[in-house]
Every structure is written in structure tokens, then in C-alpha cells.
């Protein structure tokens, strides 16, 4: 009796929010959005719906991982352990890979003839373009973020506190480095350096070839964002709303800006500045010297930064009226998208 009433009251308590935020990617024609029970292909020019997948919604199957684009297919994983390849023109299913045993939280990445799909079952799956398994690499815990690849080396951050460098041909580990804290977001890359933010509240620069730490910046508060590199500077934000620009060479502060709410996800680098998303819906564009360009306020939660798709800032919104809003680089809203219920 207790349990039954508890379940009913818990359902009303608001404790159980959506499990993730919209996963976004795009090309010159379309924006692909994975959110809740479907994947949407939206026309870039006006945000109108081109197709959605699956046509028939399955309540227990949800999509939050960034879709990957492979010329003719969109590759997207779901929370029911399935990776699907969808025809990019029609939205019809081409193949599925069901070899994983947990959720796809991080988006897949297509590099040449290899699809890299991180899964919460601790494995990075490498598939060919037909969805056949080439190899898999087992980390010590869940993989939540898309890997990056440079010169045939896969750099993979994990919730197990480790950053891995893996040979893309064999799946063999080249080096691994204990970062002292879980890594929620993907690493960023510049020439020979990897940058990651950890739940140990540190931003760390790592030598990509050797796996040696070059510098680390300890923050007094939490970090729930992805450091992004641009032109010798690393940009990131913290959970109390401070934005940092630090030197990529040594981590020394260049400037900071108080945004006032948790900075989430990866900032987007525009031609004339950087845009940060705040959890409570604030969007702030700063120039490369930390001066404000414009701000916008969005209804809803922003747990991921804006994604640049062919000259547009595409923003994924949780618990808002819309799921997607697109802005130009001056902060003008171009279109918005709300899925049909």
C-alpha cells in the first residue's frame, strides 16, 4: 500500500524529468534532431519537418544522442540499446545494430568507412558502413560522449575517469590516462593537445601523442561543460555561471565573464565571437575579448550548447515550448520547431 501510494506521489513530484536533452547535428540542407521518442529531419532554411523516425512511436524507445551523418545515412542510437542507420532523404530505416546492452547517450561518429558508437555498456563499437561490427573497445565504465579522431587515433573520454587513445584500425589502446573525475562531454582538440573537463572540477590539457598532462586548471565549483578550442584559446563555463577564456598553451586566464547561471554543454564559436548557453535559458554571445555582443532569453532549460549548422546557431531546448530554435550570428531568431504531439 505504502509503495503504491509512493509511486503515485512520486509521479507527481517532478523528480523524474526527461532523461536527456536534444541531440543535434546538421549539413548544408538539414538539421537532424534526436529528442524523446523520435528523430526529426528539419529543413535548414525554415525548420519545416522533412521526415521523422520512427514513424510509429514506441514509448520505451527514446533518442537523445547526437545523430551522425554519413553522406546517405543518418546514424543514431537510442536508449533501448539500438543503433539505427536511416536514409537521409526519406527517413526509412536501412539497418540496425543491436549488439550493445545499454543506452546510446553519446552520439556516433563516422570517420571514413568506420562508424564509432560509444555506449553506456562501457563499449565503443566500431562498425562498417553496413552496421557490421569491426571491433569493440571496452572501457571501465559508461561512455557518454562522442569520441574525436585525429590521424587515425580515437580520443575517447569516459565516465570511468579515463581518457583513452585508441588505434582506429585495430581498436587497441595506445594510452590511457586517469583524469581523477568522470568526463561527461567530448574532448576538444588542437594540433597535439586534447582538452577535457572533468567532474573533479578540472580542465585538463593532455599531450595527444603521449597522454602526458600539460596543464590543469582547478575550479572551485563544478564543471558541466565542454571546453572548446579556438585560435589558441580554450572557452568553458562552470556550474555557478562563470565563463572562462584561458590560454590553450598554459591554461592562464585571459578573461572571464559572469553569466549568472550554470553554463552547459559546449560553447559555439562564430566568426566574431563565442556563444554560451545557460541552464535557465540564457544565451550569451561574447566577442573574443569577452565583451558582450548580444543576449537572448529562452523559455526552457538549456543543457547543451548551440550547434553551428551552415551559418545558423541551432539550439536544443528541454522543458520548453519549442524543442529547437535557430538563430543567425547576430542573435536574430530565424525559425523554431515544436514536434507534433
Amino acid at each position: 500500500m505504502f509503495v503504491m501510494l509512493t509511486l503515485i506521489l512520486s509521479a507527481c513530484s517532478g523528480m523524474l524529468n526527461a532523461s536527456g536533452w536534444p541531440g543535434i547535428s546538421g549539413d548544408a540542407d538539414s538539421v537532424y534532431v534526436a529528442y524523446a521518442n523520435q528523430v526529426y529531419a528539419l529543413r535548414l532554411k525554415d525548420g519545416s519537418l522533412n521526415w521523422r523516425y520512427p514513424e510509429k512511436v514506441e514509448a520505451a524507445r527514446t533518442y537523445y544522442a547526437n545523430p551522425a551523418i554519413n553522406g546517405s545515412n543518418v546514424i543514431v542510437g537510442d536508449y533501448k540499446n539500438t543503433l539505427s542507420a536511416i536514409n537521409i532523404q526519406t527517413g526509412t530505416e536501412i539497418w540496425t545494430f543491436e549488439g550493445a546492452s545499454n543506452r546510446y547517450i553519446g552520439g556516433a561518429l563516422v570517420v571514413g568507412d568506420t562508424i564509432l558508437a560509444p555506449n553506456a555498456d562501457h563499449n565503443l563499437y566500431a562498425l562498417d558502413l553496413n552496421g557490421n561490427l569491426k571491433w569493440k573497445f571496452k572501457a571501465k565504465h559508461a561512455l557518454w560522449s562522442t569520441p574525436i579522431v585525429h590521424e587515425e587515433i580515437v580520443y575517447l573520454s569516459s565516465m570511468d575517469h579515463y581518457l583513452y587513445a585508441i588505434n582506429i584500425r585495430s581498436g587497441q589502446s595506445i594510452w590511457e590516462l586517469d583524469m581523477d573525475g568522470a568526463i561527461v562531454y567530448s574532448p576538444s582538440f588542437d594540433t597535439d593537445t586534447i582538452f577535457v573537463a572533468t567532474l573533479a572540477n578540472e580542465v585538463v590539457a593532455v599531450n595527444a601523442k603521449t597522454g602526458a598532462i600539460i596543464w590543469k586548471n582547478k575550479s572551485g565549483v563544478g564543471l558541466w561543460s565542454q571546453p572548446v578550442y579556438d585560435n589558441g584559446v580554450i572557452y568553458y563555463g562552470d556550474t555557478v555561471g562563470k565563463i572562462y577564456a584561458v590560454s590553450a598553451t598554459d591554461g592562464n586566464a585571459i578573461w572571464d565573464y559572469v553569466m549568472g547561471e550554470m553554463v552547459s554543454g559546449a560553447p559555439a564559436v562564430m566568426p566574431d565571437g563565442v556563444v554560451f548557453a545557460g541552464e535557465n535559458g540564457k544565451l550569451v554571445a561574447l566577442d573574443f575579448n569577452g565583451n558582450i555582443l548580444w543576449t537572448r532569453s529562452i523559455t526552457g532549460k538549456l543543457y547543451t550548447g548551440p550547434v553551428i549548422v551552415d551559418g545558423l546557431l541551432v539550439l536544443g531546448i528541454s522543458q520548453g515550448e519549442e524543442v529547437i530554435k535557430a538563430y543567425d550570428f547576430n542573435g536574430n531568431e530565424i525559425w523554431k520547431f515544436t514536434p507534433e504531439k
Binding site: F2, V3, S13, A18, G20, N102, G181, S318
Partner: protein, 267 residues
């Protein structure tokens, strides 16, 4: 408010237990459930005693005669009822007040386990915000090790055997059995076969185990583990208080008539 006063402390306690038992979340759930049950045990004792008093009253011939005598006069019956309570030393709120106090605690226990079983980014972000940074080190706790025996506590449980093409939901089966056993063992006796309360109790005994089994089948197995442990502890608590009727488990057995127990206050 609810979060700050109840849920957050509960989450920190469960994570503290997790951190001192070798980062085993299954053990942490079991110990935390035992801890909360121990803390609420005195309330449960009061509740059971209060319920027993009310139950005895329903079986008492003296009260039945009063009911018969004043069945047409509700006001008089209410007066006689109050008089009876006073004479026998029965507190009509003795069973419901402890229940009301226990209720939020059980809700908090359930919610804190859900929150601590964070398996997605939003859930982990929520969890991180609940952790007292001066008390627990987030970086060493996350990611939570949700493996317990063959189970991933963040996922519905199935035991996969090499010779079977499907997984067996062991935990869901145990939850069904333990819920059924618990409800049968603590089923209050009723001498009247037409007693509506007893009939409703019988219906609950049938439907509740399946409802709980369905939840255990579909929800994260960490919650199923909590349901199971909670049921077993409930049986143990009732057994310690001598309120378990093992004969109720026998096929075809009918609940015993209650033993007349005087609840009159000693002078």
C-alpha cells in the same frame, strides 16, 4: 523544501553508505532500507498496536451489542463509541498517526533511491546537485557502480542463462512472491466472511503482488531490490512483534479468529 529537508539528506546518507561498503550500490540499498526501517520501527509498533486495538473492538461481543442496540441512532452510537474507547484505553488515531509519519519517510526513501540510481546525464546532474560537497567527494562517487551480483541496478533485471534464449526476471518473481507472502502473513483476521474490509484485503492480496511484479519487471532493478528487501523486512518486523500468522500461507487456510486481547489500560 521537500528536496532540501528530506531527499538531499537521504541521498547523502545512501551515497555515504555506498562509499564505505566498497562502492557496492546493492549493499547500500539494502543497508539504507534496513536503517530507515529501524528508525521507523517504533512508529510501526505503535501503528500495529493501534490497529490491533481497533480490530479487537470489532470482534468484541460487548461492542457488537452496542452497535446492534443503537444501529438506528448514529449520534448515540458515536457517543457510545467514544465511551468504549475511553473504557478500553483505545486511541483511534494510534494506528493512523504513525502511518502518516512513516509515509513521507517511505516516499523519501523511494525517491532518494531513484535519484541515486542516476544513469543518464540529466539524472547525474540532479544527483551531483544533491551531494553535500563538504561531506562527500563527487569525483570519487561518480560514476556509481550499479553492478550488483548479475544485475545492473539502473536497468530492469533479467538473469541470462546460456541454455535459454530469454532472460529470467528473478527479482520480479521474488518481489511477487514476497509481496504475496507478506500480505498473507499480516492479513488481519476476520470472523465475518461478508466483512467488506476483509474482502477488500483479499482482493489486494491477489492484485498487489502482480502490480508490484509488473513494476519490478519494468523499472530499474535497484528499485526492485528495494521492494524485495522492504517486503522481507516488513515480514521480519511483524514476526518480531508476534503478528505473523504462518498458517495463512497454507492452501485453503482461512484467517484465524482473533484471540481476545484486552486493551484495557492497566491501572
Amino acid at each position: 523544501m521537500w528536496d532540501a529537508i528530506i531527499i538531499t539528506p537521504f541521498i547523502n546518507v545512501i551515497l555515504f553508505i555506498y562509499s564505505i561498503v566498497g562502492k557496492n550500490f546493492g549493499i547500500a540499498i539494502i543497508l539504507f532500507t534496513i536503517l530507515i526501517r529501524l528508525i521507523t520501527h517504533p512508529l510501526m509498533v505503535k501503528q500495529i498496536k493501534g490497529a490491533q486495538g481497533m480490530q479487537n473492538m470489532q470482534q468484541d461481543d460487548e461492542w457488537k451489542k452496542v452497535q446492534e442496540k443503537y444501529k438506528g441512532d448514529k449520534e448515540k452510537l458515536a457517543q457510545e463509541q467514544m465511551k468504549y474507547y475511553k473504557e478500553k484505553g483505545i486511541n483511534p488515531f494510534a494506528s493512523c498517526l504513525p502511518t502518516l509519519i512513516q509515509f513521507p519517510i517511505i516516499i523519501a526513501l523511494y525517491q532518494s533511491i531513484i535519484a541515486a540510481l542516476a544513469a543518464t546525464p540529466v539524472e547525474v546532474l540532479n544527483l551531483v546537485r544533491h551531494v553535500y560537497a563538504d561531506f562527500l567527494d563527487v569525483s570519487s562517487i561518480i560514476p556509481l557502480n550499479s553492478q550488483f551480483l548479475w544485475m545492473d541496478l539502473g536497468q530492469p533485471e533479467r538473469l541470462n542463462l546460456p541454455f535459454l534464449s530469454f532472460g529470467i526476471p528473478i527479482l520480479a518473481i521474488l518481489v511477487v512472491i514476497s509481496t504475496y507472502v507478506q500480505s498473507k502473513l499480516i492479513q488481519p483476521p476476520s470472523s465475518n466472511t461478508k466483512d467488506q474490509t476483509a474482502m477488500m484485503g483479499n482482493m489486494m492480496n491477489i492484485y498487489m503482488p502482480f502490480f508490484m511484479g509488473y513494476l519490478a519487471l519494468t523499472l530499474a532493478s535497484g528499485l526492485s531490490l528495494y521492494f524485495l528487501v522492504s517486503n522481507l523486512l516488513g515480514i521480519a518486523q511483524y514476526a518480531m512483534l508476534g503478528k505473523v500468522n504462518w498458517r495463512n500461507l497454507l492452501p485453503g487456510a482461512k484467517p484465524n479468529k482473533p484471540v481476545a486481547v484486552s486493551t484495557k489500560r492497566k491501572k
